[in-house]
């Protein structure tokens, strides 16, 4: 399969704080095939948004390499063309749009920066097509973001990301701020666009059911580390890492007949500042032993194409 669009190798992003180095993303590697969706799940503070931002180079990586279509983009400064090919849809449709720009100005901005349209007519036509694509009625052309509801604002964000016909889109919790009925509309829109134009998505979310619905493969993150990585169906069928298991069992399902065996995690996320060697999940893990608290588990292929970072993954799952 030479269809790899994005390849990430040993990516690290550390932030300097007053208390020490914050390891936001620590040694993450994966690939994304063209036209596929990779879901990145985890709780707040696990580094999933940082990962997305580093990949599209809103943040500079501390260490590691990112390849776009086989070309190492971390070894040179980000170019205008990089930014055309990779776009982002932000989480909060309330703060990611400039309140002093109208809908058409917001969508036109990337087109103007990249000098895509030769004339005013062409620009207007392009904006209309984009608004039509994401399902925004023409009457909103001159509206300002505050006049619109969350679902429509998120559609503006999507139109803006699509304006330059990118190949790769990082979606950072694009539906978390929306009501369920609107969330379903946006998810359907994103899937339709992908089918039509062969977009590649990296879909960042904390919602396991959304990630299952939209992704082809899934990465589970905990405190900057990748703890589990596999195809979406495989991950839900054979959840191997204790953290992924707990995350899955914590989701309340709208089904009253399902007998639930809950593993409730004790404790809370530990500090990502200057972490000691060892499994970062050990403090909350029911299976943790001596080994876990001083030896960092490596990501290994436990089942075909199913990677887990846990010392005891085989004994826990009886493999």
């Amino acid at each position: 399969m030479s269809n790899t669009l994005i390849e990430v190798q040993n990516l690290k992003k550390y932030f300097k704080t007053n208390h020490g180095m914050l390891h936001a993303v620590d040694d993450v590697s994966f690939t994304i095939e063209q036209g596929r969706t990779v879901g990145v799940v985890g709780e707040s503070g696990c580094g999933k948004s940082t990962l997305g931002r580093v990949i599209i180079r809103l943040l500079e990586a501390t260490e590691g390499k990112i390849f776009f279509k086989g070309e190492d983009i971390t070894s040179r400064p980000s170019t205008l063309d990089d930014r055309r090919r990779m776009q982002m849809i932000f989480q909060d449709p309330f703060s990611s749009l400039n309140p002093r720009m109208s809908v058409s100005q917001i969508i036109a901005e990337p087109l103007n920066i990249h000098h895509v349209c030769k004339s005013k007519e062409e620009l207007d036509k392009r904006i209309r097509t984009l608004m039509d694509t994401v399902g925004l009625a023409e009457r909103f052309t001159n509206a300002y973001p505050h006049e619109l509801d969350g679902g429509r604002r998120q559609r503006i964000g999507i139109a803006r990301a699509l304006a330059l016909e990118p190949e790769f889109i990082v979606c950072d919790e694009p539906v978390s701020a929306l009501d369920v009925s609107i969330q379903a509309q946006i998810l359907n829109l994103m899937q339709d666009l992908q089918e039509e134009r062969n977009f590649t998505y990296m879909f960042i979310t904390h919602d396991m059911s959304v990630v299952k619905h939209i992704s082809n493969s899934i990465i589970v993150m905990y405190l900057g580390n990748m703890v589990e990585k596999s195809d979406a169906d495989e991950l839900f069928e054979h959840t191997l890492h204790p953290y992924s298991k707990a995350l899955l069992s914590a989701i309340p399902e709208p089904n009253i007949h399902k007998e639930r065996k809950r593993t409730i995690l004790r404790g809370e996320i530990t500090s990502p500042i200057d972490p000691e060697p060892g499994c970062r999940f050990a403090a909350r893990c029911a299976y943790a032993t001596e080994e876990c608290s001083h030896c960092t588990p490596e990501l290994e292929e436990v089942l075909p194409n199913h990677f887990v970072a846990c010392h005891h993954v085989r004994t826990i799952n009886g493999l």
Binding site: E43, D149, S181, A184, L248, P252, N255, I256, K258
Partner: protein
């Protein structure tokens, strides 16, 4: 016998906000009842009137611009709408209390958590400062926070811990009713599971009734005995969990279930509800859901449906079932 079991009864309650843009009809003619020790989920999307309903019961609708324009709120048979401000203050915190949505902003940042819990106790129970602090420490332990942390300030706690403190304040005087307004929405799923588990345990132990406001049908399936679905200020469907989850009647409720990506089933596409929530200043005529309803008929546009009991305890507001 029937009257002693009934804790809260809401009859034909309407709450409107009178603003410069017009009258916002936030809550329109809702009625429901809650027995002692029972948990009811109040589900709806943004702007459905869930929080306004809760504030109405607590007597906390901001006035102006808000006003209860009709109906009755009977708590143990007594109409709270006729109670004076002083009486309401004696009730709040003691007989019924509220857990607010956002633990980050519902605590006072310049008081220690111990003081904030002791404050409720000292207001309602004749205890010395020392005894109140002692009791506050016990309650803090009950919600799973070590009593040593009494003298810490809210910013020293994480989100999940803060919500535990808010729960501790709400439970401090063992109220008969707790209104929880999206208590776990701001929390991560694993922390949400901890908090829901804690609330369930405490409720069982103390026999408190709860009105749980949420937009998450999963949380309701997990914690509640019965459920009411709100849309545009009305309860469109209400019944036991079995009634509403297995025998869904109202097109809006069906739409809500269709919008949820499922964990257990593989579906290629979601079935969302078309369109948007109506503006409560300018509600559609007839059934408020008709512009978005897949089964809309001509009569739906002009005639408002009334509450219909389709089976014992299962109510629907839809012309199809009248």
């Amino acid at each position: 016998m029937e009257t002693t079991k009934k804790l809260l009864e809401i009859k034909d309650l309407s709450i409107h906000y009178f603003t410069e843009e017009g009258v916002v009809r936030a809550v329109n003619n809702i009625d429901f009842e809650l027995m002692r020790g029972e948990t009811m989920g109040l589900v709806g999307e943004t702007g459905a009137g869930k929080t306004t309903t809760a504030r109405g019961i607590m007597g906390l609708v901001p006035n102006p611009p808000g006003r209860v324009v009709g109906g009755e709120i009977l708590f143990e048979g007594k109409d709270l709408l006729k109670a004076s401000n002083l009486e309401m203050r004696l009730h709040r915190g003691k007989d019924f209390s509220m857990i607010f949505q956002d633990p980050m902003t519902s605590l006072n940042p310049i008081l220690t958590v111990g003081d904030q819990i002791a404050e409720v106790i000292r207001l309602h129970e004749k205890l010395s400062r020392k005894d109140a602090n002692l009791k506050a420490a016990q309650i803090l332990e009950m919600v799973g926070i070590p009593a040593e942390r009494m003298s810490e300030y809210p910013h020293q706690f994480s989100g999940g811990m803060k919500q535990r403190v808010v729960i501790a304040i709400a439970l401090a005087c063992s109220p008969k009713l707790i209104i929880a307004d999206e208590p776990t929405t701001a929390l991560d799923v694993t922390i949400q599971a901890q908090v829901l588990e804690l609330m369930r345990e405490l409720q069982e132990k103390l026999g408190t009734a709860m009105l749980l406001i949420t937009h998450d049908l999963g949380v309701v399936a997990d914690t509640c005995n019965k459920v009411a679905i709100m849309y545009a200020g009305q309860i469109v469907e209400m019944g036991s969990l079995e009634d509403v989850y297995d025998n869904t009647m109202h097109p809006y409720t069906k739409g809500l279930f269709g919008s949820l990506p499922s964990l257990s089933m593989k579906s290629k596409r979601l079935v969302p509800i078309d369109g948007l929530m109506p503006d409560p200043v300018d509600l559609p005529t007839g059934c408020p859901f008709h512009p978005r309803c897949p089964d809309c008929k001509e009569s739906c546009k002009s005639r408002a449906p009334v509450k219909t009991e389709v089976s014992p305890g299962h109510y629907v507001r839809c012309l199809r079932y009248e």
